[in-house]
């Protein structure tokens, strides 16, 4: 999980062009200063590309917080 944390953090800093961006599990997208629509899309597409997976359109938009995003990621990364 720590690896996922670190990679998400790195992607978020790139996507939102903020080197001091710190992701926390309780952080809600769009409620964070600077988390805009285009940045969100950039962030999510980069997550998909980095982890080699694809979210559904619902998942793309509607996750409660970063903790939920990490849970979705972990599930998708588990071998079937």
């Amino acid at each position: 999980l720590n690896q996922i944390d670190a990679r998400l953090q790195e992607i978020a800093r790139e996507a939102f062009r903020n080197d001091s961006f710190v992701l926390t599990d309780s952080m809600k997208p769009f409620e964070v200063s600077g988390w805009d629509s285009l940045g969100h899309v950039n962030f999510m597409l980069t997550v998909e590309s980095e982890f080699g997976l694809e979210f559904s359109e619902e998942e793309f938009v509607r996750f409660e917080d970063i903790g939920e995003l990490k849970r979705m990621l972990t599930e998708k990364l588990q071998p079937v």
């Binding site: 790139e14 996507a15 629509s37 950039n42 999510m44 597409l45 980095e50 619902e58 793309f60």
Partner: protein, 590 residues
Amino acid sequence: MTVTRAWSGHYPDAGVTGGRPTYVEFDRSTTLTFLHEPANWPTDIEMAVLLCPPFGWEEVCSARALRTVAAALARAGYPTARLTLPGTADGSGGPREPDLLDAWIDAVGGAAEWLRQRTAASRCVAFGIGLGGMLAYVAASKHDAIDDLVLWAVRNEGRALLHESRSLSKVIASDFPEDQGDPAALDDLELIGYLMSSDTQTALSELQLSAHVLPDCDRRRVLLLSRGAQRVDQALRDSLERPGAEVEVRRTNDYYGLMVRPEQSQPPADTIAHLLDWLAQGSAIQMSRPALQRGTQATNREVPEMELSDGVIETPFGCSGTRGNVFGIVSRNPAAGQATLALVFVGAGALPHTGPNRAWVEIARRWAGRGIPTVRVDLAGIGEAGGEDPELVSDESTYESWRVDDVRAVLDQLQGSGVADRFVLGGLCSGANSALQGALADPRVCGLLLINLFLVTWSSELIAERRRRGPLADRSRNGGVGRLASYAERRQMADAVAAFDELKERDTEVLLLFGTQEALYEELVCHRLVDQPGRWPNIRLERIPSRDQMFRAQWLQRHVHTHLDDAVMRMLAKLPGGAGRNQIMDEVDT
């Protein structure tokens, strides 16, 4: 005056930055391009560039900035043409055309062929972004006019591109409930003001670039540009490197600055530098990678106009403006005879004639088919108009009084060319203001179509106040708001009353269309200016069930079309004898 088939207007020299609108006819279709020519043509053109735009919201955001990219390439000595895809912007047809994906690919190939012949360039580079890059790749596999490729943010699979487009659309729609899609059109895909038919979706989802073999790949150069941290598509890279193309991968950091919002979009300076560097390297490499062997050249030719269905033809329009050339497209039906009036739509803010704003194109073609010439114009700094000062897209600039002079110059040229003697002006937001002020200044204007008019006269104080106070709905319910209004608000209301009185005096028919959160509408309500029956019988006020200023959802666009059509019919009916309306009603009925 008679309207002749050959457009007697002129298109002023657009210079390197503007690009010359050029219709290219090949096979069965005609494609609109904008050709940016070097100021001093080199004797031997090594490379010409065909710029293939992205699709969807990214096209809306980047249109003006990509004009700057093309201008920069032309300045460096590379003739560059920007392509308009069929069914988008001012291109032919609509989004429900059959085999649209094939039409797009053919348009890229045909335009590349034309560009090579027009410039006598040794090599043609197709520079595509998103969908434009996918089309460029497939076109290169089918047309030998394209040698090299620059692919920015391009996916190997159409399915992945659709996923991206749907996801972006979903994110934007989550802010606007009215954008949630049209239940009446379940098979079609709505993408932020764009429509993609189910046929096009199916064709695109089946598209896989690596399945298309690029002939003579070892003679080709390809630049793959990433976007920020997102790597280039590895499958795409492999499909190019394996057969021997010279592939270079570079990272860019300005993609999202280009795509952020239409009014904030920044020309991608770093990417332009990458492009110029890569193109310059091509001169040295050409010896080892000779241009492709060309087959028989396809027939293509530049034509002065584009023929559409219902007898409509379109021609570019231009006239000199105060701060830059005005650009426009004239739609008309030469068989319809002398027109009673013409519709002139003034572009809004930074929005090009595509996506949510393609409504103007559709309305123009519909009314032109009915015999009413219709012109959609961009004033300086907007869309395809001249004026490179970035200040021209600021809110304040779009309300400056010189724009009224430019609107009148458009009317002068249209009248001088025999298009019409009377006009209905229309526009959205700042375009509505230019139309309103144009009507107040010019007696030839007999009707107004004003959508989401934001201000009657510019007031930075009132705008700041509106931001601070938020919606006025609660205040209006409580009544007595007029007494609490600021000086800026009262001044705006006084200007509105003066304008409405003047329009009544002139018997100018007016449609005011307001969304659900339009500040000016709320102020008019608070000042009890909308519930005075009989005070302004020439003005009809209608509401649009949308919070946003532009209309992305198809059902909303249809809603607005209906209001505009009804208003135009009323305006025609007011012409002497109602002859105009009767003639049009016959057209509509048949």
